[in-house]
Symmetry: D2
Subunit: 244 residues, 4 copies
């Protein structure tokens, strides 16, 4: 009997968000998709859509920064007896502020959500993937992963920490068959979050000025499909109009 | 009547080489492929294979560093009345040497082949693509594009010049609809060149220790297919075993 | 009456260590030096030497990762009624380990010591320096600030976070007159720590294969002395023999 | 009898320029200074000032891109029987233009002046310094060395080529005792060139918004004076007000 294949995405929120889009894409490719996030309502809505289209999906409420919850998520995957093919750390937390207005708690929380959670998630993903000597582990980065500019200093510090983590993991686990990827999303994603948080910016950017969700998902999938003799570790994704 | 689509690749040599593989791949996707290089014999052999498989191909002998020859190449494309979709600058010239053993001519030639030729090629490609506000322009880079190590200092200098050229072009032409890509091939390509030039290294690397030609071509194609709202400008490609 | 000038260094340990050497150098330049670290015995020994040479020094036991202790340190400086000229974050904590052997606590602690402490320290330093629109804030980085290699992934992640913090602060506070510097110490420092922790490596490197403490201190001082029209934000320091 | 020490700077033009300022600074430190450039009138004016202050200076008309002229320059130094301590490649040529308006000749010339000349100069400097296993070789870079932005694409390509050359040389010659340095001048220098070429910009930047010539020279000198156990290869220099 052929073992089913699975994917896991943590950081799944609104239906028009990157996590949900990746889940839909991977489910459409035939993977059993495990989706995790902090809101069961949001997860349920995403799951309903996937199931409606005939996909196989499991919801898990999990805070990426809490080790026991991340462990439970991966235990559920292991119990499903599937072969984990893709794991995406898609948590992205950003609170712009001038440096002196950035509290210790806020600074710590940004690091926990953007980097510590990735550490916890990567550990479980590697433990799951290692016996099969295969699997793709993707971390979603941002413009700030490469450059720290106020008022995004705290965010950039956390994203730079994530990037280095991804790079170290690639050096350690590529030779063991695990494809570690760091993406740099350089621009604003055309999803619910931007529409709600910065409606004017969202309007001003116009058609193709924001990253289309499905376009990002296609690149994630094609990077996952790369032959091990020619793996990409890092790539940027940017609307053609975006200055950089 | 629908206008046919075309691709152009300069730096096409041995059949088991990246240029030839890209040509085969693009022809199989239905593009009229223009291939250019310095040896008519090599070009003809590549063309025969493509035609044999039912592809449409045109050979042009051209030295990438000679402006008039590059112009002629693109005039042939314009005469074909096709829409140029992809242009790949695939010339790669490397002559390792200690610094004091690197002659002025050798230093200049590496720059001419890796960078000046790309400048000439890019100019013609942009002139062809600009009226349609579309097209993908890919430059093949190397490990040395990012780091200069002896005995590759002269090569690294030329490749760094190429990378900056590609980056400046991306900033200038992305907003005008032209997708400019720089790839970093970090490892040795599993082709005729390595097999002949470093047979022992070639043997030692073994299965998947060298970049498979077709694997690279697939990534080039998928980057070309990206939606303009989420374009990649730079990505690395590396065998999973390759230390970096 | 002229206000005295002061410097503060956190991360002062053994006498033959970078923190102690900077303290001696700054005291010799006539600054009142505040030195902080976790061991009163070590601080006292450093202070004795400085006082013996006629320098002015104040010891403060402080854990850089505890906000209240960092605050107390700067309150002591403010009470001294001196003008804070230089603040050096010199805490450097490194525990190499394969990724799966890196515990959550160890990962977190490396970040706290290399980055969170720098955040707390920078905040107080900026609050002290801002009214005068002058002062130099230096963060000591490492090879790993730029590249993450196992078994240093956790360390590299923390150091990359520190580097981004320093960069964001430079962009925010340079225009306000505060000189923010990030140094990349690329090699092993010729001090007590290396001598004790890796005695064989220490022996093998030989004369000038390790960074001389006083040589680093001289560069720190000359960077501090730069005219505001030509400030350095980042520089590397490396033994001439060190491969990179 | 003690052998005298010397310095050489190529790219010496107006009196209020970086080349001239370095020459004055090195002469004041007691070095016999060889200054080279294309205009004998300009060189003579710089030399007169140095001699007037009691310095030892030799003028040589030389085009940095012509190998024989660079050789003659260094033969003059060898004939002087001095020990060459510092060699600065200070040629900086920039002609902003949109890509399609950049001619092949202009593109080539920018590379020749910013990179090929540095190659020729470095070769002679290394040949002179190698027997003594000492000396400092400095290349003046720019913002564009790290980032290519239109209309500076051609300039950035040339400066990136120079940076890689400097990096390769550092890796090859540092272990042989030659200190190779690449500086990134990130801003406009407060000299005659800017005053004449962009008078409005020059006015607008105001006090300390432009890099002071003497401030740059001081950093060059202090980098030259570094102990070999703690050498800097690359550093940026930027007015405190300059956004980056």
């Amino acid at each position: 009997m052929v073992q089913p294949c699975s994917a896991v995405i943590i950081g799944v929120g609104p239906e028009r968000g990157l996590g949900a889009t990746l889940a839909n894409h991977f489910a459409a490719e035939g993977l059993h998709v495990f989706i995790a996030g902090r809101s069961i309502e949001k997860l349920q809505r995403v799951a309903d859509t996937i199931q409606h289209k005939g996909g196989l999906v499991t919801c898990m409420v999990a805070d990426a920064t809490i080790e026991s919850e991340v462990k439970q998520l991966f235990e559920a995957i292991r119990c499903s007896n599937s072969v984990l093919q893709i794991a995406v750390y898609n948590v992205d937390s950003n609170t712009p502020a001038p440096f002196l207005k950035t509290g210790t708690e806020a600074f710590t929380q940004l690091w926990e959500q953007n980097c510590l959670g990735a550490f916890l998630f990567a550990k479980q993903a590697i433990v799951s993937m290692q016996p099969n000597r295969q699997g793709t582990l993707i971390f979603t980065g941002a413009t700030a992963s490469l450059r720290a500019k106020p008022p995004f200093t705290a965010f950039a510090s956390a994203k730079a920490a994530l990037r280095a983590l991804a790079q170290g993991l690639a050096r350690e686990y590529s030779p063991k068959g695990i494809h570690v990827v760091h993406t740099i999303i350089d621009g604003v994603i055309n999803g619910d979050r931007a529409a709600q948080q910065f409606p004017e910016y969202y309007q001003a950017k116009g058609q193709d000025g924001l990253l289309k969700l499905e376009a990002i998902a296609e690149t994630y999938w094609s990077i996952h499909c790369q032959h091990p003799s020619a793996w990409t570790h890092e790539l940027d994704l940017r609307p053609y109009k975006e200055p950089f």
